[in-house]
Symmetry: D2
Subunit: 102 residues, 4 copies
Amino acid sequence: MAIAQVTIVPIGTGSTSLSGYVAELQRVLERAGGPVRYELTAMSTIIEGELEDILQVVREMHEAPFAQGALRVSTTLTIDDRRDKAASIRSKVESVERKLRG
Amino acid sequence: MAIAQVTIVPIGTGSTSLSGYVAELQRVLERAGGPVRYELTAMSTIIEGELEDILQVVREMHEAPFAQGALRVSTTLTIDDRRDKAASIRSKVESVERKLRG
Amino acid sequence: MAIAQVTIVPIGTGSTSLSGYVAELQRVLERAGGPVRYELTAMSTIIEGELEDILQVVREMHEAPFAQGALRVSTTLTIDDRRDKAASIRSKVESVERKLRG
Amino acid sequence: MAIAQVTIVPIGTGSTSLSGYVAELQRVLERAGGPVRYELTAMSTIIEGELEDILQVVREMHEAPFAQGALRVSTTLTIDDRRDKAASIRSKVESVERKLRG
């Protein structure tokens, strides 16, 4: 399992509001269902799952703004892939919180 | 006010665990106090505040891993600065959630 | 065709030097051959090609540090995908240079 | 000295073309003069200099699209700061090329 962070921005849409595009990205993730878990933050969407499943859903998310009429899309993906130990969205945050209390 | 996302990674530390470094970043933010609000996610720290205050605290965060012994640090910062409308960590997420319910 | 920028960093390797890992990424790209063109910069590798080919080669590049012994890898990919006009690594830079002379 | 990579994108401008904005970023860098060296690539601008000088010029670059009329700007900055050894835009690329010939 890997954890990823993705931000997808349509360019040249004429409106400073992006929430309609971000909502559509969440719908793509919802439809993807089982293979990945995700969480929306103010700056990106965090996705947890097998690397192949993450890449597959990011591929679909990248198409969403085009389907909504955008002609240029900038997608930024960061993958954190750790193979010596199981990690999850929750365990990563908890690990820091333990250190802060500790 | 702007919203930013920052990820700071020490390179060449010999351990795959980063939580001790990330915890220290949270302590830097805690000490910064009033000027900025922040939120830890599994992939980054999200910061809300005046642009100058964000840049100031990111500058301090970038030094933290060096103070802990790292010799090379990679810092990635994304700033979302919107000047036609007030935005906050909370309002950005709520705006997407409204569209999803809508 | 899309243009992408990718930075792949092994975490916890014990050495601040990354050039051996970056050299291996260039070998992966060389083997990928025809489908993509690429260019090494001081901060990333820029890749031009069909989106599917870019994603395929980035997938292979992401595995390279693991094959060299890394246990955790951080991969950051930015895709610039413009569908109203053909763009290339060269045409993007030339377009800015024309504006600067202009 | 540190090396950084910065990409600055105006959001909601109504045109898919960004070259006029990127050209203006180069002018900001030109005016900054001595303290930093820079290089335009197809996906970002790479800057080399003292960390404080880099942050100062990125701060000015971030304002440029607003001065050109943009109301929302997304700025992504990656800083590679190595303190065990001098590094430059040129030396980083040469180090990889030496390994490839090697």
